[in-house]
């Protein structure tokens, strides 16, 4: 992990349950807390980078709300998400993490033939499928992938022992460390 915000998110998502920093300013225990901070992020982003603000905000909203939609009542231990952002003149960075079930566990329930974390990430970003079937949903990460490409963003998505790198193209590979839940880093 590169900078301090990324390291904090990495620590937050990987430490033992009893050591999770729930007093962190980046911790959003509920969707309401996230939405309040998300609203502040959007205002700041429109002030600094108006041309990119709407798409970047929509991408962040989809990823963060996925965490709540798919883990409500099923968090592994600590509920909620880590949500941090920093904007400078030439760089946007947004970091999200959750200690939920992860993509593989979520999708295996509705597509049992998925065998590992890498396959699960591939399916999540390319197929219309939702862990909440029979609800008709499952378009969020496809929207994320297409708009990361169109806006020239870079997105790293870790879940389990897999890592997806998205920019002009998508590359999914094994990640040596196991990320229980999800860790997402967006840069532009």
């Amino acid at each position: 992990m590169g900078n301090s915000q990324e390291k904090l998110a990495y620590e937050w998502v990987t430490v033992e349950a009893g050591n999770v920093d729930v007093s962190s300013e980046f911790y959003c225990a509920t969707r309401d807390v996230f939405e309040a901070r998300f609203g502040r992020m959007i205002r700041e982003l429109f002030e600094k980078r108006e041309d990119d603000a709407s798409i970047v905000s929509a991408v962040v909203g989809e990823i963060a709300n996925n965490s709540f939609d798919h883990n409500l009542g099923n968090w592994r231990d600590v509920p909620g998400i880590f949500f941090g952002y920093s904007f400078s003149e030439d760089k946007i960075e947004i970091v999200l993490a959750d200690r939920g079930r992860g993509i593989f566990s979520t999708l295996k329930k509705v597509k049992p033939e998925i065998e590992n974390d890498q396959e699960a990430l591939t399916v999540a970003f390319t197929e219309r499928i939702s862990g909440r079937a029979p609800e008709k949903r499952g378009n969020g990460l496809k929207f994320v992938r297409e708009n990361v490409q169109s806006k020239k963003m870079h997105l790293s998505f870790y879940s389990g022992k897999a890592k997806a790198e998205l920019n002009d193209e998508m590359k999914i590979e094994e990640n040596l460390e196991n990320i229980g839940g999800c860790l997402v880093i967006i840069t532009l």
């Binding site: 798409i55 989809e62 378009n139 969020g140 297409e146």
Partner: protein, 93 residues
Amino acid sequence: MRIELKKIGEVLVSRPAGREAFLVISAYNLKDLTEDEEIEIDFSGVKVIAPSWADEVITKIAERFKNVKLLNAENETVQATLKTLREYSGLKI
């Protein structure tokens, strides 16, 4: 019937928020309308919209009514969201 989304909010993300919006619109805007009624969905003033929210509102309105028009839909996220709904949610408008 015209539905001005800015009256719901300028940031429209998340399925729970979309579901709530659809219930309100159904009760106050769409009640007693026949499927032939013209429905105009006006996106003016919307800063951010995401497919999760829109799937709960736009897709459902389009499934119920035959004549749905989208107004002031030039915003970048509106266009990106509609594209996603057309590709992955079967939106026909």
